[in-house]
C-alpha cells in the first residue's frame, strides 16, 4: 500500500470491536472468580476461596477425570477414522459409495446436536434390544458418539492438508516399488503428522466440551464435566464455576501460546534453511 492512511480502516476497527466482544466476557469470568462474595456481580474483595472450594468438590473432580478419559479415547479413534476417510476422499479417485461417504463426513459438522444425540440414543436402545449390547449406557456409548462427530472435523482438517500435499512424492515412492500401505505409513503420514496433531487436539476439545450429545447417550452412571457444570449453572451463577472457567481459559491459552511458539520456530527454521540452501 503506497497511500498513507490517516484514520484506521473500517474493517480494522471492526476487528478490534470483535476481539473485545470475544474477550471481555471471558475477562469478567476471570476477574469475578477472585471475588470473595458469593454474589457474582458484587465485588467484595480479593479471595481465592472458590478455587479451594472447587478442588474439594468431589463431583466436579470425578467428572473432570471422566471427561478427560472419554476425550482422550474419542480423539484418538476419531483421528484414525477421520484420517482414513480424508485419505479415501482425496486419493482414491472414484468408487462406489463416495458420495455417501462425503455426505456423511461433512453432515456432522452442521447437524444440530439434539438430532445427533437423539438418533444415537435410539440406536443404542435398539441395539441393546436386539443384541444385548450395550447393556448399560455410559462412557462406552459416549465414546462412540464423540468419535463419530469428531471424526468429521478431523477428516476436514486432514483432507485440507492432503490436498495441499503434492501427491507426486507418494507416486514416486510407489513407482520405486513401495507398496501402498508402506507408502502411506512411511511417506504420507510423516508429512501430514502436524495436521493429525491439530485434528486430535480439535477432537479432544470438542469431546470435552459436548453437553447435549453426552446427555442423550449417557446412562445414570457416567457424568461428564459439562453435565455437572450445566446442572449447576442452570440454578444461576456460581463463583465455583467462575474458578473452573478461569482454569479452563488458562489451560487453553497456554496450549495455544505453545502451539503458536512452535509454529513460529518451525517457520523461522524453514526460512533459514532455505537461505542456507540458496547460499
Amino acid at each position: 500500500m503506497s497511500t498513507v492512511r490517516r484514520r484506521p480502516h473500517f474493517s480494522t476497527v471492526m476487528l478490534i470491536v470483535g476481539l473485545l466482544f470475544l474477550y471481555l466476557p471471558m475477562a469478567v469470568l476471570v476477574v469475578y472468580s477472585f471475588n470473595s462474595s458469593r454474589l457474582v456481580t458484587v465485588w467484595a474483595g480479593f479471595s481465592t476461596q472458590w478455587y479451594s472450594a472447587l478442588f474439594q468438590d468431589q463431583q466436579i473432580l470425578s467428572a473432570v477425570w471422566t471427561s478427560l478419559k472419554i476425550a482422550f479415547f474419542a480423539a484418538s479413534m476419531a483421528v484414525c477414522l477421520g484420517t482414513v476417510a480424508a485419505f479415501v476422499m482425496t486419493r482414491f479417485g472414484q468408487f462406489r459409495g463416495k458420495t455417501a461417504l462425503s455426505s456423511m463426513v461433512t453432515a456432522p459438522l452442521v447437524m444440530p446436536e439434539v438430532i445427533t444425540g437423539l438418533s444415537l440414543l435410539l440406536l443404542f436402545v435398539q441395539m441393546a434390544q436386539l443384541t444385548g449390547w450395550p447393556a448399560d449406557r455410559g462412557e462406552g456409548t459416549i465414546w462412540i458418539a464423540h468419535t463419530t462427530f469428531c471424526s468429521a472435523y478431523v477428516a476436514v482438517v486432514v483432507a485440507a492438508r492432503l490436498r495441499e500435499l503434492d501427491s507426486s512424492i507418494e507416486e514416486a515412492a510407489m513407482d520405486l516399488g513401495s507398496p501402498p500401505l508402506k507408502t502411506f505409513f512411511f511417506v504420507t503420514l510423516p508429512i501430514i503428522a502436524p495436521a493429525l496433531a491439530a485434528g486430535w487436539l480439535l477432537a479432544f476439545t470438542l469431546s470435552l466440551d459436548d453437553l447435549v450429545i453426552a446427555s442423550f447417550v449417557s446412562g445414570p452412571g457416567a457424568n461428564t464435566l459439562p453435565m455437572v457444570v450445566f446442572s449447576s449453572v442452570r440454578m444461576g451463577v456460581s463463583p465455583k464455576i467462575n474458578a473452573l472457567a478461569t482454569l479452563i481459559i488458562l489451560t487453553v491459552s497456554l496450549a495455544t501460546f505453545l502451539a503458536w511458539y512452535m509454529m513460529r520456530r518451525n517457520e523461522r527454521r524453514q526460512i533459514t534453511q532455505r537461505q542456507e540452501d540458496a547460499a
Binding site: S11, L15, L39, V88, V110, V212
Partner: protein, 303 residues
Amino acid sequence: MMPSQVVALLKRCQLGRRAVIAFPLVWLLLFFLLPFALVLKISLSQGAVAIPPYGPLLEYADQTLHVFLNLGNYLFLLSDSLYIAAYWGSVKTAFIATVACLLLGYPMAYAMARAPARWQLILLLLVMLPSWTSFLIRVYAWMGILSNSGLINNLLIGLGLIDTPLRMMNTQFAVVIGIVYAYLPFMVLPLYAHLTRLDNSLLEAASDLGSRKINTFIKVTLPLSMGGIIAGSMLVFIPAVGEFVIPELLGGPDTLMIGKVLWEEFFLNRDWPVASALAMVMLLMLLIPIVWFHRYQSRELEE
C-alpha cells in the same frame, strides 16, 4: 515376477483398497445414517408406558404381519400451536443471529486477511481461542453480564443513566447475543480462508482501471468470497436452529426454540415418539441448507 503373482498382488491391492474404504464407510453407516432411520421409525410408532417408551411398528399375530404406521405424532405437531411457534422462533432467531454474525465477522475476516503476514497467525489464533474453551462456560458468562443485577445494569445504574434495571436476560435479545458470541469464530474462519486466497492482482487491476474502492469491493471481493459467506452462514445457521444450551440458559419462557422443546419432550415428558417426530421435521427443514453446505464443502474436500 510371474504373471500369476502380479494378478495376486493386484487382487490383494483391490481387497486392501476395499477394506480401507469400508472402515470409515461402515462406521458412519452404522453410527450416523442408521440412527436416522431409527428416528424415522420411532416417530411413526405409538407412545407407550414401557421401557423403552414406544410401541412396536411390526407385529406378527394371527399368522399375519401387522404394520402400525402411526402419523399421529406428526398430526399432533400440527395441531398444537406451540410446536409451530417453536419452529418459527428457532428459524427467526437463528436467521437474525446469522446476519449479525456475518455483519461483524466479515469485516473482521477482511481485516485479518489484509493484516501483515506475521500478524495473521496471531489474529487467527486469537479469534479461534475462545471456541477451544468451554461453550457452556462462554454462554454462562453472559448470564452474569445481562441479568437484572448483572454487570451492564449495575454499570448503567451506577452511572445514573437508568433507575430500574433493563430486562435483557430471558429475552430473544439475550439468545441472539449468545448465539453470535458462541458461533462468531465459525463464521470468521471460512471467510478468512476465502479472503486470503483472493488474488491481489485482481483488486489492483480493478483500481488501475479506475474502479472506486467500494465498487471494487462489491464487484470483485464480495462475489469471490461468496463460498466463504455461504459456508460461514451455514455453520452458524444450521446448528443455531437446533440450539438447546443458549435458549435454556439465556432465553425465557417466551423465547421458544425447537431444540429446547425437543429436549423437554424427551427428558421431561419422556415422549420419545413426539421427540422423534420433532427431530424429523427439523431435519426436513434443514435439509436444503445442509445440502447447500455439503455441496460447497465437498468441492473443498475433493478438489
